[in-house]
């Protein structure tokens, strides 16, 4: 069991590093899908079977396909992205490492919690999660549908192509200006 945990942990960390370091956005998306599948494996190890299924369906099935659609539609599947300056990259790696060291040092004595409830093998199954969701958290569940409605309206407003722009405030960049900013 511990070996299975280490296997999933290694897969998720390595694929997360590939997400950050891959030059081609398609490779990043594929690595992120692998990372999400290994996290679903962690959920199954934790007996959270409902969350594992929702995670695979929502994240791997819907969100990552949306990312792939956008990359294909906008024709971004070329490794032409200029890198940030060397100082910025070093700062990013140092900052991330320091963040991890700080967080890990905070739990260096180990995390010991007193379990609030007696051990129950049914936690995380559809039955227990659904019961809490539809009794205690019914109002937030309904409010989240309003959130989705506003997201739908916002997306349609944002992505709609404007027919004419009489006083367009954003004009396309000239080549010289783009070269100056990319440098």
């Amino acid at each position: 069991m511990l070996a299975l945990f280490y296997l999933f942990a290694a897969i998720s960390v390595i694929s997360a590093l590939i997400v950050v370091s891959a030059r081609n956005p398609i490779n990043s998306v594929i690595a992120l899908i692998v990372c999400f599948l290994s996290i679903a494996g962690h959920y199954i190890l934790l007996n959270a079977q409902f969350l594992a299924m929702v995670h695979v369906i929502v994240y791997t099935g819907a969100i990552m396909v949306l990312f792939l659609f956008v990359i294909m539609l906008l024709n971004l599947n070329k490794a032409t992205e200029p890198m940030k300056s060397l100082g910025m990259r070093v700062a990013a790696i140092t900052g991330g490492g320091l963040l991890f060291i700080t967080l890990a040092a905070a739990i260096r004595h180990g995390v010991s919690i007193q379990s609030a409830n007696p051990f129950d093998a049914g936690i995380g199954l559809v039955r227990s999660v659904g019961h809490v969701l539809f009794t205690e958290f019914l109002l937030p569940f309904e409010v989240s549908s309003v959130l989705f409605l506003s997201a739908i309206v916002g997306v349609v407003m944002l992505a709609k192509k404007e027919k004419h722009q009489p006083n367009a405030s954003v004009e396309p960049l000239t080549e010289a200006e783009r070269a100056r900013r990319t440098a």
């Binding site: 956005p25 962690h42 007996n47 971004l76 990013a92 900052g95 995380g124 992505a159 960049l173 990319t182």
Partner: protein
């Protein structure tokens, strides 16, 4: 099989899950600063969301409390809405400045 799943909660210490999610969160945070492509930055945000979800689920399983898993469910809902809005902003950015490079968006700079 059910026995094996139940023993996994007992065998794997909570520290391991906490350290793993810290590591994933740090990789995501470093990636936001490291990359210039907006779509990769959005993916790093997803990675950070997922590390927090994993941490909540681990504590939920060790506490035998299903409420935290409901929180994870809501985080997934909000992340789905956030990604759709973020990607439509990205489509608009590509249409207006013909690039997905965040360094192109410095028009507010005098």
């Amino acid at each position: 099989m059910e026995e094996g799943i139940i023993t996994a909660i007992r065998v794997v210490p909570l520290d391991h899950y906490v350290l793993l999610s810290f590591l994933l969160f740090s990789i995501g945070a470093a990636g936001v600063v490291f990359r210039r492509n907006t779509i990769i930055i959005l993916m790093c945000l997803e990675l950070m969301f997922n590390s927090v979800n994993l941490l909540l689920t681990a504590f939920s399983a060790h506490h035998s409390d299903p409420r935290a898993q409901v929180f994870v469910f809501f985080i997934m809902l909000v992340a789905a809405a956030e990604v759709t809005v973020g990607l439509s902003i990205l489509v608009m950015m590509k249409r207006n400045v013909d690039s997905v490079d965040v360094n192109q968006l410095n028009r507010l700079k005098g």
